[in-house]
């Protein structure tokens, strides 16, 4: 008869049957995740410094060579997004385990390190089912739209000074356009599934989108007004002395809330709402189609915190220890700062996910229309006024 220990304090660790608690091996976990982050960092350096340097050395940086270079960068970014998704899913599960007094995945790979690789492989080989009631073309297209929309946001994310695929001067407008697109994928996927739960999920996604997009756009506008530019690199540069979250405290808070809504993240995960809508918009998706929704969700879980960092926390800024700005070493260090700041925000999002229940969908809409939009407008006016008298 197994005896359950009566724990001495509130925050005890469970004793597993037949498993040594030492097996959790925190040093191993740290090593594995550091390795993942290292791979991530290497890909970033390779994409933004390695590939241009290589092509520059070969003299292929114009004409078709340029096209080839950009293509290679995009392929590397795709790899990066896969690494992000695999790492974040694993981190989410391990972190939920930590919060919930258990271990989380730990048996496959060192410290559970290749668990998500197995998951991805399994989904790859699983039957990709199209229901009879579905609209096949839209049903197939929807995950792709969602994923491409999330992935396209990478184009304007500055990982370090100058390390950006397209440092366009309409970066913010591009972001608004592209981030809204990902909701279309959810909407189309839900509607085309021919399932009522998916339909409700899609309708919720649509209703949610029109609610949070307006405060989100207003916050974008505030940041643009404050920084005097629409380019993301310019926004980061404008924060050299003072990070935006201090003068723009109100838009910052609104932006975090709206990001949670855009991510379809607890406490605003209404389109998915597992305990209400079974799986919401992706209820009929299996195999790889589902994996793409999953992938897009976790890529966004990286990108939206990254945007918080870009807009409010000085992007890649950090002490350079005398490194020459613009050099490879400085770029690598800056991208590390950027990643670290983003990681803190990812962790905050995971923390919210592990802790909070879910609001009701109309409560978000009410909050968005009655509180967030007026507050965002107020923040915009305030930022414009401050900008007039200060800068």
């Amino acid at each position: 008869m197994s005896q359950i220990p009566i724990p001495e304090d509130r925050h005890f660790r469970p004793r597993l049957l037949g498993y040594d608690p030492q097996k959790s091996r925190p040093w191993l976990e740290r090593t594995v995740y550091s390795a993942y982050v290292f791979v991530f960092w290497l890909i970033v350096i390779g994409t933004y410094a390695g590939v241009p340097a290589l092509f520059g050395a070969l003299g292929w940086d114009s004409g078709w060579g340029f096209v080839l270079m950009r293509t290679l960068q995009v392929v590397l970014l795709f790899l990066l997004s896969a690494v992000i998704a695999l790492l974040l899913i694993l981190l989410l599960r391990k972190y939920l385990g930590k919060v919930q007094e258990r271990y989380g995945p730990m048996h496959y790979g060192p410290a559970g390190g290749i668990q998500t690789v197995f998951d991805a492989l399994k989904l790859l080989a699983k039957e990709d089912f199209v229901p009879a009631a579905a609209d096949v073309l839209t049903f197939r297209l929807a995950p792709a739209i969602t994923f491409v929309a999330s992935f396209a946001m990478f184009a304007v994310i500055p990982f370090a000074s100058g390390w950006v695929l397209a440092d366009t001067n309409v970066g913010l407008i591009y972001l608004i356009a592209v981030s809204t697109l990902s909701a279309y994928g959810v909407l189309l996927g839900g509607v085309s599934s021919g399932n009522k739960w998916a339909l409700i999920g899609a309708l919720r996604a649509g209703a949610q989108m029109v609610s949070y997009e307006i405060p989100l756009a207003l916050v974008f506008l505030t940041v643009a007004v404050w920084s005097g530019t629409l380019s993301l690199g310019g926004i980061v540069d404008a924060q050299l002395g003072l990070w935006n979250f201090l003068p723009l405290a109100l838009p910052f808070v609104l932006y975090v809330i709206a990001s949670l809504a855009e991510l379809k993240h607890i406490p605003f995960d209404f389109p998915e709402a597992e305990s209400e809508l079974i799986a919401g918009y992706n209820v009929e998706y299996s195999g790889m189609s589902f994996a793409f929704f999953f992938l897009a969700e976790f890529v966004e879980l990286f990108l939206l915190p990254a945007l918080i960092v870009v807009f409010f926390f000085g992007g890649w800024h950090g002490p350079l220890f005398g490194l020459e700005p613009g050099s490879l070493a400085a770029g690598a260090l800056e991208s590390l700062y950027f990643t670290a700041k983003t990681a803190v925000w990812v962790w905050i999002f995971l923390w919210i996910r592990a802790t909070l229940p879910r609001y009701r969908d109309d409560q978000l809409m009410e909050f968005a229309w009655k509180a967030m939009i007026p507050l965002a407008l107020f923040g915009l006016v305030l930022a414009a006024y401050l900008r007039l008298i200060w800068r």
Partner: protein
């Protein structure tokens, strides 16, 4: 109304008929509710039960009296021994068996331990329905401790078949009282966390306050009992109204709330957990450490012809049983009065007009268990 599902109303194209269950994560088992949805608002709701109908009442007629007890266990499977007690009490009444005082107290301790276990399961699953994952894991870990205590004595975790006519089947494990006392210390600390997680959470407030209001008169007329009834302001508790076992010997209160909404039902269950801890604290002190655990019962249980209704207050309300005996060693008829069965009847009342998300919260606050509803 069709027999199996809702028919669309002619001319109403804005209503969507949705079938929720039997496999739905928020139905706590195999409930099926056919909903008419107008956007997010529920216009009509027809619950369908019976997906776990296991012919309890028929098969119990073909079993001898002691053999019925394990079957009763499997009704409200979350609250273990609580189901055995009404049947045991009814047969004891019919036979006139005297139960020793110590046996009564041990029974009551198990009864309250399982109430805590059941409310813990409720809290975890209700929070899961509201979207929070972590409380589920915390409550199940605490429940494991209770089941460990029960297992040491009764030999089984969930469905221990521990009560018998005249007392309990075997004496408690020597560690029992210490284990319970330790567990209560632990539980009191954990309750602080649970209050933070559940009762004080602003998200829970937003989801539950003013949602699914059940009026006092409606609750009584619908035969609702247990925490759901007490959350509507009726201080009806079988433990006080028709005391059984050791309940006359202990002090406890009946928490009631006048609000009748989903939050009130959450709150009342929380207060019941505090009362359970209080009862168990008293019983750890009051129960003699040694002594008889079983009264004198005949070797062959053959109650005289007649019938007897006995009820207990289990985790969900008044769990009753009507035992009809024809003088043989098998009951002529065993009719279970399910608390969750009665409570579930208010589903159409509370669902209609509510939002779909509210319906999930309301269902979580009713805490149905389908072993007992479908029997």
């Amino acid at each position: 109304m069709s027999t199996m599902s809702l028919e669309p109303v002619p001319g109403r194209s804005d209503e969507m008929i949705v079938n929720m269950g039997p496999q739905h994560p928020a139905t706590h088992g195999v409930l099926r509710v056919v909903l008419g949805l107008e956007g997010e608002r529920i216009t009509r709701a027809v619950p369908h039960i019976g997906y776990l109908h296991r012919n309890h009442e028929k098969i119990e007629e073909a079993r001898t009296y002691p053999m019925v007890i394990p079957y009763t266990d499997r009704m409200d499977y979350v609250s273990g021994t609580q189901n055995e007690l009404p049947f045991v009490l009814a047969v004891e009444d019919m036979l006139g068996i005297e139960v020793p005082d110590r046996a009564k107290k041990i029974r009551t301790m198990f009864f309250e331990l399982y109430r805590l276990a059941s409310h813990l399961v409720w809290m975890g699953t209700a929070m899961l329905d509201l979207g929070a994952i972590s409380p589920f894991l915390y409550t199940f870990w605490d429940r494991e401790i209770i089941l460990g205590i029960v297992e040491k004595t009764a030999g089984a975790r969930m469905l221990p078949n521990y009560y018998t006519f005249g007392g309990v089947r075997r004496d408690v494990h020597p560690d029992f009282f210490k284990d319970v006392a330790d567990f209560l210390d632990h539980m009191e600390r954990r309750m602080v966390d649970y209050e933070h997680l559940v009762l004080e959470s602003p998200v829970v407030h937003a989801r539950t306050i003013g949602v699914g209001v059940l009026s006092k008169e409606r609750a009584v007329a619908r035969g609702v009992s247990g925490p759901v009834l007490r959350a509507s302001g009726v201080a009806y508790d079988v433990r006080k109204a028709f005391p059984y076992d050791a309940y006359p010997d202990v002090e406890f209160e009946i928490p009631t709330s006048p609000d009748g909404d989903t939050y009130a039902r959450f709150w009342v269950r929380f207060q019941e957990m505090y009362q359970s801890i209080r009862i168990l604290r008293q019983l750890v002190e009051l129960t003699p450490k040694t002594g008889p655990y079983k009264g004198k019962a005949p070797a062959r249980i053959k109650p005289p012809a007649g019938e007897r209704y006995r009820a207990v207050e289990n985790s969900r309300g008044e769990l009753g049983v009507l035992v009809v005996s024809d003088g043989t060693d098998k009951p002529y008829r065993v009719k279970h009065r399910g608390a969750a069965f009665s409570n579930l009847q208010i589903v159409p009342d509370l669902f209609e007009g509510a939002k779909f998300s509210d319906a999930i919260a309301i269902l979580a606050s009713l805490d149905p268990v389908f072993g007992e509803i479908d029997r």
